[in-house]
């Protein structure tokens, strides 16, 4: 049975409270840090299951740079796959901007490594985790606003039939490789996160 907290021990309440507040605000703080300091990168993506989007309140996105077909061609991937026991360790995918000036093309992966690589100018390193033979980046969920669910669902379905490669995600990547999504492009239509 609890004894009432004496008034002279107020810190015993305030200290945990501040800690809890810190935990709550950690996610927004990290997202805001990445948003303000990060480099904008476009990534090719696709919904995992375009015919059953409304299972939850979010779309699960699958990135081109997560798929094993893409990763197989990257230098460094074989070593990571062979060291299978080392799974769940962080890894870094180096991305280069698209050639040419057009800003609506996705960035392309250059290499993959366990340690933070040296980057040449214009490149960014995106941090991910090796899981079950794929790489996840923590960007895999897009929570759909409730009032737009029907519309987005319909647009994604049509886009999937006509031009499946026209899904792009705009993300910010900061110097530590942490990422935060900014917006989702479905064809010509842009949805801010």
């Amino acid at each position: 049975m609890a004894t009432p907290t004496p008034l002279h021990r107020r810190w015993a309440f305030w200290l945990p409270l501040v800690l809890q507040l810190g935990l709550i605000l950690a996610a927004p703080a990290r997202a805001i840090y990445t948003h303000t300091t990060g480099e904008t990168v476009l990534l090719q993506t696709a919904p995992v299951d375009p015919y059953d989007l409304l299972r939850g309140y979010y779309v699960t996105l699958s990135y081109q740079i997560s798929a094993s077909d893409t990763l197989d061609e990257l230098p460094g991937w074989q070593e990571i796959k062979e060291a299978d026991r080392q799974s769940n360790l962080p890894l870094y995918v180096v991305l280069a901007p698209p050639e040419g000036a057009s800003g609506d093309q996705p960035w392309t992966p250059v290499s993959i490594s366990r340690d933070r690589p040296q980057l040449s100018s214009g490149q960014v390193a995106l941090r991910g985790t090796y899981q079950w033979g794929r790489v996840v980046y923590g960007l895999e969920r897009y929570y759909i606003p409730e009032d737009q669910r029907g519309e987005i669902n319909e647009r994604i379905r049509q886009q999937h039939l006509s031009e499946p490669e026209a899904y792009l995600i705009e993300v910010k990547v900061d110097a530590r490789g942490q990422s935060a999504p900014v917006s989702l492009w479905v064809g010509e239509k842009n949805y801010r996160f």
């Binding site: 049975m1 609890a2 004894t3 009432p4 907290t5 008034l7 015993a12 309440f13 200290l15 945990p16 409270l17 800690l19 809890q20 507040l21 935990l23 709550i24 605000l25 996610a27 927004p28 990290r30 997202a31 299978d84 026991r85 080392q86 799974s87 769940n88 360790l89 962080p90 985790t129 899981q131 079950w132 923590g138 960007l139 895999e140 969920r141 897009y142 929570y143 606003p145 409730e146 009032d147 737009q148 935060a180 999504p181 996160f193």
Partner: protein, 466 residues
């Protein structure tokens, strides 16, 4: 802690004693302050009003939640964050204010529990609003850590239990979701989870003492043992010889629980407390574990079905030991605990009590037999026989202890173990129907006679002593 009903009666009686001159005014005041009788002042009408106010508050709360959820997407993100944070802070502050008043402690505790749930909701909603798809186990653990901090600050067992449940769920999710959960770490969280057998007691045992909560102690012991078993399982999967792993799985948890020592934790305990706060509970858990382990291994198929478990490579032991510090720590702790049990007492000589000695014998025979069977030489028949004998010895021993102390639950536990053992053996081996019928008959008669005898003679005798 005395119940509310008892306090009411006591107040009524004590007032009468004072009127009749049986006790003095000072004595009444002392009783009243010890049992906090003045806080009972609230009349039934006051309680009714409070209940009405609480129901009203809940309804208003639901209406606010419905209103907000109807317009949630339309509200700017910053405003949403501010709303969530201010809700969290106000419930917390209201809770702690009420906790400080003796007459509204329960309400305060309720509000603080609610605010811990709001903490989890806030963590999840923040992740969702900022599109950070973190892991489920990460959410549970961070939530549990925040709740645990508040449980320590206010010494509230209810928050401690919530934190334990959250950490437990987080651990299970981690085991399910992360491949090769034992090896490699992508974050500090993984490091913590890999050392769960050590982290659990470090995080929760001090809280059990701080809030003097038996349930927190029991859950801590349960969580530690479970995490240790997971660890030993991974240990075996990583190439540790099965003989070692099984011997440790069978004997390490009960050895630890039995030798658990309260006094190490409490250098500055007050004199009013019993010397052994949690040891009785810990020993009950040790016996329960031992009973389960022996019952599980008393079946013949456990020992006849070895497959390719026999593998021994000394190198892998070294590698495994280097990889799993927690197993070593607990093995050392168990040995130290038993040495401490055997320390020179009043007689001035080293030695264990008869119960301790019997238990040590059972544990060493279990460890020895399983190690030899899986590591050196297959002994299917001998091991089955030995474990059945040990199970019977444990059952009879626990019954006897229960009889000596007039402890009904221990007596029935021992009797239950014995009956379960006989039933299982009769059903396991293909005996004739007549033998089966006779066994059931004898068991039934024995249970009835022994039980009635215990309830008639031992309990009243014990009660009259006390």
């Amino acid at each position: 802690m005395a119940s509310l009903q008892f306090k009411r009666q006591l107040k009524q009686e004590a007032e009468r004693w004072q009127q009749d001159g049986w006790i003095s005014r000072q004595q009444y005041a002392r009783i009243a302050s010890h049992y906090q009788l003045d806080a009972l002042g609230e009349s039934a009408q006051g309680q009714f009003t409070r209940a009405l106010i609480s129901i009203g508050c809940v309804l208003i709360g639901i209406s606010v939640i419905t209103f907000v959820s109807a317009n949630w997407q339309a509200i700017p993100r910053l405003v949403r964050v501010l709303m969530l944070v201010s809700l969290f802070l106000s419930v917390n502050i209201a809770g702690v204010r009420l906790l400080q008043r003796p007459q509204s402690q329960r309400l305060g505790q309720g509000l603080l529990l609610l605010s811990s749930l709001i903490l989890g909701g806030n963590l999840a909603l923040m992740g969702q609003m900022f599109h950070q798809s973190g892991s489920g186990y990460g959410l549970c653990l961070v939530w549990g850590a925040g709740t645990l901090a508040m449980a320590y600050g206010l010494s509230l067992p209810s928050l401690g239990v919530l934190a334990q449940l959250l950490v437990g769920v987080g651990y299970l999710l981690w085991l399910r979701d992360v491949p090769m959960a034992g090896i490699g770490a992508s974050s500090g969280l993984d490091l913590v989870l890999q050392q769960m057998p050590l982290v659990t007691p470090a995080a929760f045992l001090p809280l059990a003492y701080r809030s003097r909560s038996r349930i927190i102690f029991a859950l801590t012991a349960l969580g530690t043992v479970a995490a240790l078993l997971v660890k030993l399982g991974q240990f075996a999967a990583a190439g540790m010889p099965a003989g070692w792993a099984i011997a440790l799985i069978l004997t390490l948890p009960p050895a630890l629980l039995w030798a658990y020592e309260d006094s190490l934790w409490r250098s500055n305990r007050s004199r009013a407390e019993p010397v052994h706060l949690f040891r009785p509970l810990s020993r009950i858990m040790a016996i329960a574990y031992l009973g389960l382990a022996l019952y599980g291994t008393s079946f013949h198929w456990v020992w006849s079905n070895t497959g390719d478990l026999q593998q021994d490579s000394i190198d892998s032991i070294g590698a495994a030991i280097a990889m799993w510090p927690s197993t070593i720590v607990f093995a050392v702790l168990a040995v130290c605990g038993w040495v401490y049990l055997a320390r020179p007492g009043r007689t001035g000589r080293w030695g264990l009590g008869s119960t301790d000695l019997a238990l040590l014998g059972i544990l060493s025979m279990m460890a020895g037999a399983s190690f030899v069977h899986w590591h050196v030489l297959l002994l299917p028949t001998e091991a089955t026989f030995l474990f059945n004998v040990l199970l019977a010895v444990l059952g009879i021993g626990v019954m006897r202890e229960g009889l000596d102390d007039g402890d009904r639950s221990r007596f029935w536990y021992g009797l239950g173990l014995l009956v379960l053992q006989i039933f299982s053996r009769v059903l396991e081996y293909n005996t004739g129907l007549l033998v089966k019928s006779l066994t059931f008959l004898l068991c039934g008669v024995a249970v009835i006679v022994l039980g009635l005898w215990f309830e008639r003679h031992v309990r009243p005798a014990n009660r009259s002593l006390s």
